[in-house]
């Protein structure tokens, strides 16, 4: 402190510089706090592939397997169900699974059935809109959400509809088809989800 009333620009600049540096350092301490909210190592490690036995699955039935805390559906489709799929193309948003295929459809599922074996559909049962799990509406009958319903999945949260290949109908809130996870057949009756010939998801 000096009795001199004149401003000392050197000191003023030093204070500004010190305050700016201190402020920046203070803000930097937010980084570890923010990063502490990222998934923990335990959460990252919990994503192992799961196996499913499909020997008991009858035509027209669906089974659910938990993979990474999410439902994965395995549907054994009947020949009638499969025959219906190509007829729906003009009502679907993305019938050929061309939108962002690397995220939603592995190469071996980029076909009309979106599956390796036409009979078996394997999809993550989470709506691509906001993540609800759609419900089965396999029966071909008029529904409140679609008077000419041909069977598929209906999301109760926001009304998105998917056909029996997990392809989303046009003009619905969901933008993408249901995700086909990486999967492969270990034998005719055993399937592994989260892993294919190229490695783990």
């Amino acid at each position: 402190m000096s009795d001199d009333k004149k401003m000392n620009p050197g000191r003023r600049n030093l204070i500004v510089l010190a305050a700016a540096t201190g402020g920046a350092a203070g803000l930097t301490t937010a980084v570890p706090f923010a990063l502490s909210m990222e998934p923990s190592e335990a959460a990252k490690a919990a994503g192992a592939p799961v196996e499913a036995d499909i020997s008991q699955l009858q035509p027209g039935q669906k089974m659910t397997v938990a993979w990474r805390g999410q439902p994965v559906w395995i549907v054994r489709r009947t020949p009638e169900m499969l025959a219906e799929l190509p007829k729906l193309d003009d009502q679907l948003a993305d019938p050929k699974s061309l939108r962002d295929p690397d995220t939603f459809t592995p190469p071996y599922a980029r076909n009309e059935n979106r599956s390796i074996k036409p009979e078996y559909l394997v999809v993550v049962g989470i709506c691509t809109h906001l993540g609800c799990s759609p419900v089965d509406e396999f029966a071909v009958q008029p529904e409140p959400f679609d008077p000419s319903w041909q069977g598929g999945f209906y999301c109760p949260c926001h009304g998105s509809t998917y056909d029996l290949a997990g392809r989303v109908y046009r003009n619905k809130p969901a933008p993408d088809n249901l995700k086909v996870p990486k999967y492969m057949f270990l034998s005719d009756t055993r399937i592994v989800i989260g892993k294919d010939e190229k490695g783990e998801a």
Partner: protein
């Protein structure tokens, strides 16, 4: 007796020499002059404060028994309901308080819309109030996950996925919020931290700032005229003002008694309120593999939820048309060049984005906008007067239509989707936004009545 009084007076003097006790009491209560013509609508500010206290007190006692752990949470809530002495009462007071908090806040905000309480010089009172409203929505959302029921789980899933829809950063942001790839124990644990400490601290700070800002500028009133314009020449006190204490402390106490009566009736006779306050699906433990067949948010979120559901591929054409109309209207009525060209630029960007971004992203954006747009009220309303009593037919018509649209959206949000409901929802969404976006034009053109010199009061 006189010795006790003189002792207390001495104590007050001792405190006042060390802490601004008496001066603060005067500034905010016994000598805070509020307009004498407050009506029914002016109960809801104080009642919101009362509910806040109820939530804090009941919340503290609930945390003594609740366990923020995905394996234990659901059972610990049932433990509170069945085994903790009077636990059921404390939990029902908390859950009923949550819904009534929104009742009070919505009516409190509507009062602002009726009497122009957001207008100069009360812009900051309004903005701080809106910040409280947003915090409250966050608080309600975080709290709703804690019972770890089916609605808790899937509600959190949907709301966190709203952030996932944001371009570029969305996916990583949603993982950061959850602390996991799915809603899990990590999510529950941090939501507990937000619900019991982070947001309540923020709320208390904002409520204090809201009241401080209000007491700086003074309260508005149903006539929307400033009582500070007519002061007693000798005392310099507003002629139409009365001290908050005792006049309004007594009035608010009466309001509090009526309110607590209603509160108690709900707590004791209908705490679930037919599924609107506590949803049936939330009495089922969270199951990450199965969404309940019928899912809807709690009633206070349903209008915004309906707006979210209304944005489909077809509705994008309405958005494009609205962008065009707004751009032409602003270009035509604003003479400042940089605003004109800026508007044109923004309109072109929005039009491009309407093709680039999914309707889902627009849905999330418009839902956010529908809750935040109230922030702009001080600048959207160009009426010559503040209060609806003296506003012309334009505003009266607009706000009537808006209230009806808001209620219909709220109703639709509780129902499953169907083609007809979606169309009605889209129509009401359009009306909802038109109320705000067209406001500068229809309020400026409004034929307002002259305001009185003094507040009207019988």
């Amino acid at each position: 007796m006189s010795r006790i009084i003189s002792g207390l007076t001495a104590l007050q003097g001792w405190i006042d020499a060390r802490f601004p006790f008496t001066s603060q009491w005067k500034a905010h209560a016994s000598e805070y002059y509020a307009p004498k013509n407050f009506n029914f609508w002016y109960y809801f500010g104080a009642l919101s404060g009362l509910v806040l206290v109820n939530q804090l007190v009941t919340g503290i006692f609930l945390t003594m028994h609740y366990k923020p752990d995905a394996l234990l949470a659901f059972a610990s809530v049932e433990y509170i309901m069945r085994d903790v002495p009077w636990g059921w009462l404390i939990r029902y007071m908390h859950s009923t308080g949550a819904s009534l908090f929104f009742v009070c806040i919505y009516l409190h905000m509507f009062r602002g819309l009726l009497y122009g309480s957001y207008r100069k010089p009360r812009e900051l009172v309004w903005i701080l109030g809106m910040a409280i409203f947003l915090c409250l929505m966050g608080e309600a959302f975080f709290g709703y996950l804690l019972p770890w029921g089916q609605m808790s789980y899937w509600g959190a899933q949907v709301i966190i996925n709203l952030f996932d829809a944001l371009p570029i950063i969305g996916h990583d942001l949603s993982i950061w919020i959850r602390g996991d790839y799915v809603v899990s124990d990590a999510t529950l644990n941090r939501f507990f931290a937000f619900h019991v400490i982070a947001i309540p601290l923020l709320l208390l700070g904002l409520v204090s700032a809201h009241i401080l800002a209000l007491h700086e500028v003074g309260s508005n009133n149903p006539d929307g005229i400033e009582i500070k314009k007519n002061k007693d020449p000798v005392t310099h006190l507003p002629l139409d003002g009365i001290p908050f204490h005792p006049y309004y402390t007594v009035k608010d106490s009466f309001g509090a008694m009526v309110f607590l009566l209603i509160f108690a009736i709900i707590v004791f006779f209908g705490p679930e309120m037919g599924g609107y306050f506590l949803e049936a699906n939330n009495f089922v433990p969270a199951d990450s593999l199965k969404t309940p067949p019928e899912i809807s948010p709690v009633w206070y979120f349903t209008p915004y939820y309906s707006i979210l559901r209304s944005i489909t591929t077809d509705y994008m054409w309405i958005i494009r048309a609205a962008v065009l109309v707004m751009a032409i209207a602003i270009f035509w009525s604003v003479k400042t060049n940089w605003i004109r060209w800026g508007t044109l630029g923004i309109a072109i960007v929005l039009a491009l984005l309407s093709w680039v971004l999914d309707p889902k992203v627009w849905g999330v954006g418009l839902m956010g906008t529908s809750t935040m747009i109230f922030f702009l009220m001080p600048w959207l309303d160009r009426s010559a007067v503040k209060s609806i009593r003296y506003k012309g037919p334009n505003y009266k018509f607009a706000i009537t239509v808006w209230v009806i649209a808001f209620l219909i959206l709220g109703y639709l949000g509780t129902k499953p989707v169907s083609d007809v409901r979606t169309l009605v929802g889209q129509f009401c969404t359009t009306l909802y936004f038109a109320f705000f976006f067209a406001m500068p034009w229809y309020t400026r053109a409004d034929k307002c009545k002259p305001e009185p010199e003094r507040v009207t009061w019988k």
